[in-house]
């Protein structure tokens, strides 16, 4: 059971399949401010290696100074990206938002994405690592994504919180005993460390894994068209096909990474049973990884289309109902039309949730971890040093 005292966590996606991506900051700022007005925990912005649209982390960095409390969670793909860059970019998002950053780990499995980084044997390049595998199996790339999430966390920890000392007497700016090489060796890459970025405000920005993944269109991109999206609570047409495809997309491997490393897992579900079963499975896997008690917060990720204010009220009832059944720790809403649906949600659903005590009326904390009720983790290196004393 989710802890009864914490109301459901609430997040909303700023992007939607089939809606062409916007390139202007004002669009995203307006949406994020609206979500902040609704006192949601965080917004997500999807991304894929190869676009389309602007880089998601860049967009959320751009709107960070224009918002104050809302958590900012871009998708960051790991397959063709340097783990070191992923770590510094997300840490920096946490710095510029003063502790409101997270990231959704995603992979690239298609030939089309691999072709964008196709590299021949580079002359004169003394390699220590292997190339990212083109169009590899989901299980393989997810296992590597797990390693990336691991080393990213270690790099965040590689500066202990109090490493900076500015000690004039000895002329030392940092206490180097509190800076650590991470010396991570994965199956396909290695990273020496430490990070170049001091430990971010949240210690570790929030790591999110979507355990179901997108229902990919034929070219590996999101499937076009919003016509097929269900009204909330109604099973989608072709729902079983979606589930079948999810397995192909490495759902088991996604769940393993989420169970081992995620703070938040997103489970795409159209009925409470599916969500509840996925949650139970994730928590069992997390226990097997030695995360008991604990494990990720599991948010049911729901497709939502609010065609009328009646739908907005219906959604409040549905969220309350699912939450009462204990099938999820909260919800991630995938809006069919973010501009229209978020306005309806904040206007119609938010007040009802507040009335029922299911949503804060104002933010108490300032960081995303505080919103979610997640503690700020100590650096693993600080803990090891403590233990060795």
């Amino acid at each position: 059971m989710p802890e009864p005292h914490h109301p459901p966590r609430l997040a909303v996606a700023l992007d939607a399949p089939g809606v062409p991506p916007r390139h202007d900051a004002a669009h995203y700022t307006a949406l994020a401010r609206l979500a902040e007005h609704g006192t949601l925990d965080f917004v997500t912005l999807g991304d894929r290696f190869g676009g389309p649209g602007p880089d998601a982390l860049a967009v959320l960095a751009r709107i960070a100074p224009d918002t104050e409390r809302i958590g900012l969670v871009p998708t960051v793909t790991t397959t063709h990206t340097e783990p070191f860059h992923v770590s510094t970019a997300v840490a920096t998002l946490d710095w510029v938002s003063r502790g409101r950053a997270g990231w959704t780990v995603e992979v690239s499995t298609t030939e089309a994405e691999a072709a964008l980084v196709g590299r021949p044997q580079v002359l004169g390049f003394a390699r220590t690592g292997k190339d990212p595998h083109p169009a590899a199996s989901p299980a393989e790339v997810w296992s590597e994504a797990g390693e990336v999430a691991d080393v990213v966390g270690r790099l965040w920890d590689s500066w202990e919180d109090d490493a900076e000392i500015r000690d004039r007497a000895t002329g030392r700016f940092v206490d180097r005993a509190k800076l650590h090489h991470v010396d991570f060796t994965g199956r396909a890459f290695s990273v020496r460390g430490p990070s170049i970025v001091p430990r971010p405000p949240q210690g570790r920005p929030v790591t999110v894994v979507d355990v179901t993944g997108e229902t990919d269109g034929p070219d590996g991109g999101p499937s076009p068209g919003t016509g097929d999206l269900p009204h909330v609570g109604v099973p989608p047409r072709g729902g079983s096909r979606e589930r079948g495809r999810s397995r192909e997309l490495g759902e088991g491997a996604r769940r393993e990474v989420a169970a081992a490393r995620a703070d938040v897992a997103l489970v795409r579900a159209e009925d409470p049973q599916t969500a509840g079963a996925a949650r139970a499975d994730l928590l069992a896997r997390a226990r097997a990884h030695g995360r008991a008690p604990g494990g990720p917060l599991v948010l049911a990720s729901l497709p939502v289309e609010l065609e009328s204010s009646g739908d907005a009220a219906g959604l409040a009832a549905l969220l309350g109902d699912w939450f009462a059944q204990g099938v999820a720790d909260g919800f991630h809403l995938r809006l069919a039309d973010p501009v229209r649906d978020l306005a309806r949600f904040v206007e119609g659903t938010v007040p009802l949730l507040r009335e029922r005590g299911l949503l804060r009326r104002s933010y108490e904390g300032t960081t995303l971890r505080e919103h979610l009720g997640l503690p700020r983790p100590a650096s693993i290196y600080a803990l090891a040093r403590e233990a060795a004393r």
Binding site: H23, D24, A25, A61, E82, A89, A91, W95, V117, P194
Partner: protein
Amino acid sequence: MSPDPRPRKQIHLAAHFPGVNNTTVWADPPTGRPTTTPAGGTSPGSSLGSQIDFASFVHLARTAERGLFDFFFLAEGLRLREHKGRIHDLDVLGRPESLTVLNALAAVTERLGLAGTVSATFNEPYELARRFASLDHLSGGRAAWNIVTTSDAFTGENFRRGGYLDHADRYTRAAEFLATARALWDSGPAGGPPRRVDHSGRHFVVRGEFGVARSPQGHPVVIQAGDSAEGREFAASAADVIFTRHSGPEAGRAFYADVKRRLPAYGRRPEDLKIMPGVTFVLGDTLAEAQERAVEIRRQQVSPQTALLTLEQVWGVDLSSYDPDGPLPDIDPDPHGELAQGRVRIADPQAVADRWRALSRAKGLSIRETVIETTGRQSFVGTPDSVAREMDHFVQSDAADGFILVPHLTPDGLDPFVERVVPLLQERGVHRTEYTGTTLRSHLGLPDPARPARKD
């Protein structure tokens, strides 16, 4: 003086966020100037500002915009430097990832260009083309990319690809990297459907579509930092700005002439590439006061520990038993000594050691005084009026097109320059009194990149 027949050149100005090296002063002198205010901010003159809090970046960027600067600039270093196998701990350390900070700064500035240094060695063309196009969109056409060519295997240890390139390969890779990025920027849909890019070269094979729409500047401004002949040639062929080390007027003029001479071969005009050395400054109400302050800053930059470490970088051996206030070592440098990692290697340590010992003997200088004397002088020291005059002369005499100012205090080291020198440059008619354009290209007077016609 006979009147110059040419119109006066406008001075281009950029603000460098203080670096992670000993140029940046992080400890107030023991005499104590005002430090932290109760609100947590820093009061003017304090050197205790954070090098990582976003507020510091906002402060410097807004100061630069108040001074109508062309752009704000961030350097990059992808591995913490080490000395004797341990992390170097004497200088300011720790900085954010450039592009993420610049995107955030786009929200708190309106016209200021936003330049980030990103290595061509440890990235791929597709991802960087997309990230810079994103910044250009999100800032309304203010993005710039300082493309550097990191070379060392030491830095490579942080990366999947690892490794390093030798000097010549670094620039061929950088040139192909940039050409590929430009092909991607040119392919972005501007209303129409995306075009396919099909690049196959020595360093990269990139096939596919670029999903980012054509950005406001078409191509972000490209800066090149590297002084060698290869670096100059690369800049002449492909860059909009060259960020160079500062040297005196004569060496500056020689560099300037050399670089501009290379442009016609690429069908470019002299004004298509701006030459901007990185410079420091110290101001005072009188020249004597400025000079005194400059000496004080040098003492802060070169602590006793930093003096010994600087010496060890030349000698290549442990010198920790020497007294920084005593004489230089009699022993000769070890040409194979490898104490410092992540720094530029000194080409001829024996020659440097001989020069420093001669200077020390001639002037009776200690180790610390010798290091202070021989390294990192301030570029412009004087009253606001004399500094404005010198800078103007430097530009009008074709030793530069402008400057990248490197303050030695975070975050308010630029404030005095903007308050006291900028108005004088404006009076001289060599600095804008308002922004006339919205993009960085327009601030720099650069042409819009030509877009190749559709072939299909």
